[in-house]
């Protein structure tokens, strides 16, 4: 898929319209996972708008998003960046056969604060 | 060859549009000044308000060989005369029901709200209506045989 097709697919999956964005940055102002993300919510919107999807697909940012939907709730223009992040995530998952999770990475992810079940289900969902 | 023939005999419907002076007629003008094309089969009659459209005018149009009639007025709540389009809506609901009973398909009659700012909507509405009527073909009901042909 070329950039335009990728963009149209993201827009189709998310059901939102990034061209409504007025670049106010409220999404990034509200995001609790901001520091963790390589690409911040407002950048997501503008990158999708430009068709710059490849770097998003490769970035860890899409898995750092907590899907808390604070940005969706507060976006004054109903662009709803969280849905765009979710769409990119879905697109990646739908690329059948790709492996996003290596069994070897698993031990270092285990964390006292994180339910083990979450790690296991993530492994099932995102690995080959 | 056959396609050629069909094209020559392409059915061109005759459609009458009643447009209120304040919104829809202005919307039609806007469609013109924005150069938005729609087929030439529709001819517009200017009336002060959609509530000026007497059901008799519509019956007359069908009698004289019209294939479709559309009435355009201001959006509900925006009528220049405050309430005119509400009367039009009620009257036309009754009339269209009766016409349907007489065998004139519902699709041949329509009420649409087009504001003075909606040139694009006017053109789209007309194209769509013409398209619908063209698919239905010539209207043969209610014809006054004394009138023509």
């Amino acid at each position: 898929m070329n950039n335009e097709q990728l963009r149209d697919e993201i827009i189709r999956i998310s059901g939102t319209n990034p061209s409504k964005c007025m670049k106010c940055g409220k999404c990034s102002g509200t995001c609790p996972a901001y520091e963790e993300m390589e690409y911040h919510p407002h950048q997501f919107v503008s990158m999708v708008q430009k068709g710059d999807i490849e770097p998003l697909l490769e970035s860890k940012s899409i898995f750092k998003c907590l899907t808390c939907f604070a940005c969706v709730e507060r976006c004054p223009r109903s662009v709803e960046p969280g849905k765009l992040v979710e769409a990119v995530r879905l697109m990646l998952i739908r690329q059948k056969g790709a492996n996003h999770f290596d069994a070897e990475d698993l031990p270092c992810l285990v964390d006292d604060d994180l339910p083990q079940q979450a790690v296991v289900s993530a492994f099932r969902k995102y690995s080959k | 060859m056959q396609i050629e023939e069909n094209k020559n005999e392409e059915f061109k419907p005759c459609i009458v549009a009643f447009c209120c002076n304040w919104c829809s007629y202005a919307g039609a003008d806007l469609a013109g000044s924005s150069r938005l094309t729609y087929p030439a089969d529709v001819k517009i009659i200017r009336v002060p308000c959609s509530c000026r459209v007497n059901p008799l005018f519509i019956l007359r149009a069908f009698q004289r060989g019209a294939d479709g009639v559309i009435i355009c007025g201001c959006h509900p709540g925006d009528c220049h005369y405050t309430t005119g389009n509400y009367y039009a809506r009620r009257r036309m609901t009754l009339l269209f029901g009766m016409l349907d009973y007489l065998g004139i398909e519902r699709e041949r009659t329509r009420v649409e709200w087009v504001s003075a700012a909606e040139g694009a909507k006017f053109a789209a509405t007309m194209s769509d209506f013409i398209d619908t009527v063209t698919k239905l073909g010539r209207n043969r009901k209610l014809r006054d045989l004394r009138c023509k042909e």
Binding site: S28 | C14, A66
Partner: protein, 661 residues
């Protein structure tokens, strides 16, 4: 049989490029009644009009059809030309072959065919046209201004100066409006009270102006030149003629715990109060919900103190009826309370205020005597965050879709005034865009950045919360691509403006149209910006859309000029295309009066003489000055007695026939 002339306009190439104008003229010649047909490059030009006038005289034309642009464009032009040649102007019909033909079709054959049909329809209609004469109605030489803010005051002053009587109706106890609450005004920073209060005094003292304060418009009837308006005067419980405005009563009132609206609730007032020191009229008013005497008949302290014996607990509301020639709407605006935005913590944190509240906190006549104190603990805030576009420019149901226009400028003003008083204050402004289109406006904003060192941050605030006595503001800095958190002492929200809530019901009373945001719409966005589409109703100030003070004052002046122009006329010409009743077939059933939106139809007992009958019966009669010509009655009439002049049943049927044939 009419003698009809047909004139086909080329409109340069606008029509002639797609419509064969010669063919249209030729086809018209064959139509019944047509004695003359021609085409010309520009019918609306001076020479085009001469062709029309000459033909009317030479061929003795009794009807004219012009195939040209939309009648909304040049109908008036051609009617005037026909009239000057001695033809009744209503014998002119336009076939719209530009907007509805040449501009929308590309194929010459198709467009020409349609143009011919449109011309035939117009010819068929003009066959049945009858000369119409416009009636006249008198103009009441008095204007009503609804709203007594700066817009209303300026409009009233300008009208009064021209020598006409003006009444101002203000729903608050005093005129002055929102401007009276402001501290200083951009871009020159002169104090609002210093420039407004002299105007308030002027307008009150003007011999041509009557002020109905604490009053509301409750009913409007009539039409341009002759409105009948009912004004409800709410009871102040003060005899206006006796009261001297000394204010002794306000000091002694025991109910001193009422939130003071003028100071945005930051301090308290008594149940009897004068809104502010420079109020006009300077009369107290009793708040009936708070007054002990009015609630349970115990107290009466103010009445005992009043040396002028002006307190009157028995005062009742009063309805005043007055006639006006013109009405100016100047109902102004409100700043929304951003309670629906939980992220800004306006509901929970007292140190988060709106800009109008901040205005009172800064004002030397305000609750803190001009010393900036934060509402929670009275400390002076050292770090202040301003947030712009709160509730404006949004697309979701929480926000207004429009830009509130004044916030960029007053936020820069607030920042500078604060820095002037307390140079060590840290000021941060979160903005999306800075919009400063006005004379000396951008220079003003740049001064805030360059000279005062105000920190403008491109980005929006996502969250405001309290922590350790500080107001934490978390937002994004888009230029640095960072998320930042500022520990502030106070947050000021530049929340959106909205039309005053009273505008909606007033719009209904005036039958003046409004947009989806309840701003009044103008008759033409560019060319008639101060007139409402309803004749005789004019717009001044924020009721039409967000504006700053200079714009409001200029619009107020423009509205006044339109009113003066109307009142200067002794008579108004009416639209002659109105309903008419054929009384010989009317049976007086009243259905037409039921659907008439203007109350233009009345019933009279009249002797009816026809070849068949001779009797006295009840029949409908149309008031031609009130009728606006919508035609609702014509369709309702079961006996077809009602018809609309200029759009008669037979005329429209003739058009239908011409199109379908």
């Amino acid at each position: 049989m009419q003698r009809i002339g047909v004139f086909v306009c080329w409109c340069g190439s606008n029509i002639a490029a797609t419509v064969d104008v010669k063919a249209v003229a030729e086809a018209a010649k064959g139509q019944p009644g047509v004695v003359f047909a021609t085409d010309y490059q520009y019918m609306c030009s001076e020479s085009g009009q001469t062709i029309l006038k000459d033909a009317i005289k030479e061929y003795g034309l009794t009807g004219v059809v012009i195939c040209s642009c939309s009648p909304r464009m040049h109908e008036a032009t051609f009617r005037k030309a026909a009239e000057s040649a001695g033809l009744n102007p209503y014998m002119v019909e336009i076939a719209n072959i530009r907007e509805q033909c040449s501009w929308i079709h590309k194929d010459m054959e198709v467009a020409t065919e349609k143009a011919i049909i449109l011309a035939k329809a117009a010819i068929a209609k003009v066959q049945l046209n009858k000369p119409l004469v416009a009636g006249e109605s008198e103009v009441v030489k008095r204007a009503l201004v609804i709203g007594g803010g700066i817009a209303g005051i300026q409009t009233a002053l300008d009208i009064a100066e021209a020598g006409y009587k003006v009444d101002i109706v203000e729903k608050q106890p005093t005129i002055g409006g929102k401007m009276a609450q402001l501290d200083k005004t951009f871009p020159t920073l002169d104090c609002a009270a210093c420039i407004l209060t002299p105007k308030m005094v002027d307008v009150a003292a003007h011999e041509n102006v009557t002020i109905y304060s604490y009053s509301e418009v409750v009913d409007v009837k009539g039409f341009v030149g002759n409105f009948t308006v009912q004004i409800k005067k709410k009871p102040r419980y003060i005899n206006e003629n006796l009261c001297t405005g000394c204010g002794a009563c306000t000091e002694k009132c025991p109910m001193k715990k009422q939130p003071n609206e003028f100071n945005m609730g930051f301090d308290k007032r008594g149940a009897i109060y004068i809104p502010f020191a420079q109020a006009v009229p300077k009369l107290p008013v009793i708040d009936a919900d708070a007054c002990l005497m009015l609630k349970n008949g115990k107290c009466g302290l103010c009445s005992k103190i009043c040396e002028a014996h002006a307190i009157d607990y028995t005062q009742k509301e009063e309805i005043i009826e007055e006639r006006y020639g013109a009405i100016v709407v100047a109902t102004g605006f409100n700043q929304i309370k951003p309670t629906q935005f939980e992220e800004y913590a306006y509901n929970t944190c007292p140190d988060v205020v709106t800009s109008l509240e901040y205005e009172r906190l800064m004002n030397a006549a305000g609750p803190t005597k001009g010393h900036l104190q934060r509402p929670s603990d009275g400390q002076r805030p050292k770090t202040i965050v301003f947030i712009q576009c709160v509730g404006s420019r949004g697309d979701s149901c929480r926000e207004k879709s429009y830009c509130s226009k004044i916030c960029c400028m007053y936020t820069a003003k607030h920042a500078m005034l604060t820095k002037d008083h307390y140079p060590d204050t840290d000021i941060h402004v979160f903005y999306i865009d800075i919009r400063t289109p006005g004379k000396n406006f951008d220079e003003f904003y740049r001064r805030a950045v360059e000279q005062y060192g105000v920190d403008y941050i491109k980005g929006m605030v996502g969250k405001v919360y309290e922590e350790n006595g500080k107001v934490m503001v978390q937002g994004s800095d888009l230029i640095d691509n960072k998320q930042i958190t500022i520990a502030a002492d106070m947050v000021v929200l530049a929340s959106a403006v909205e039309p005053d809530p009273s505008a909606r019901s007033l719009g209904t009373m005036l039958t003046a149209s409004m947009d989806t945001n309840d701003f009044f719409t103008e008759a033409h966005a560019k060319l008639r910006p101060v007139e409402s589409p309803t004749a005789g109703v004019f717009l001044s100030g924020m009721c039409q859309g967000p504006k700053d003070i200079p714009e409001t004052v200029s619009q107020a002046g423009a509205a006044a000029v339109k009113v003066i122009g109307l009142l200067a006329k002794d008579k108004l010409k009416n639209n002659p295309c109105v309903a008419a009743c054929n009384q010989s077939v009317c049976n007086g059933c009243s259905q037409c009066a039921n659907v008439c939106p203007y109350g233009a139809i009345t019933y009279v007992e009249k002797e009816i003489r026809t070849p068949e009958v001779r009797e006295v019966r009840r029949v409908a009669e149309v008031n031609e000055a009130v009728c606006q010509g919508c035609g609702a009655c014509t369709v309702t009439c079961p006996s077809s007695a009602m018809d609309l002049k200029g759009f008669t049943n037979r005329q429209i049927m003739a058009e239908v026939d011409a199109i379908c044939r």
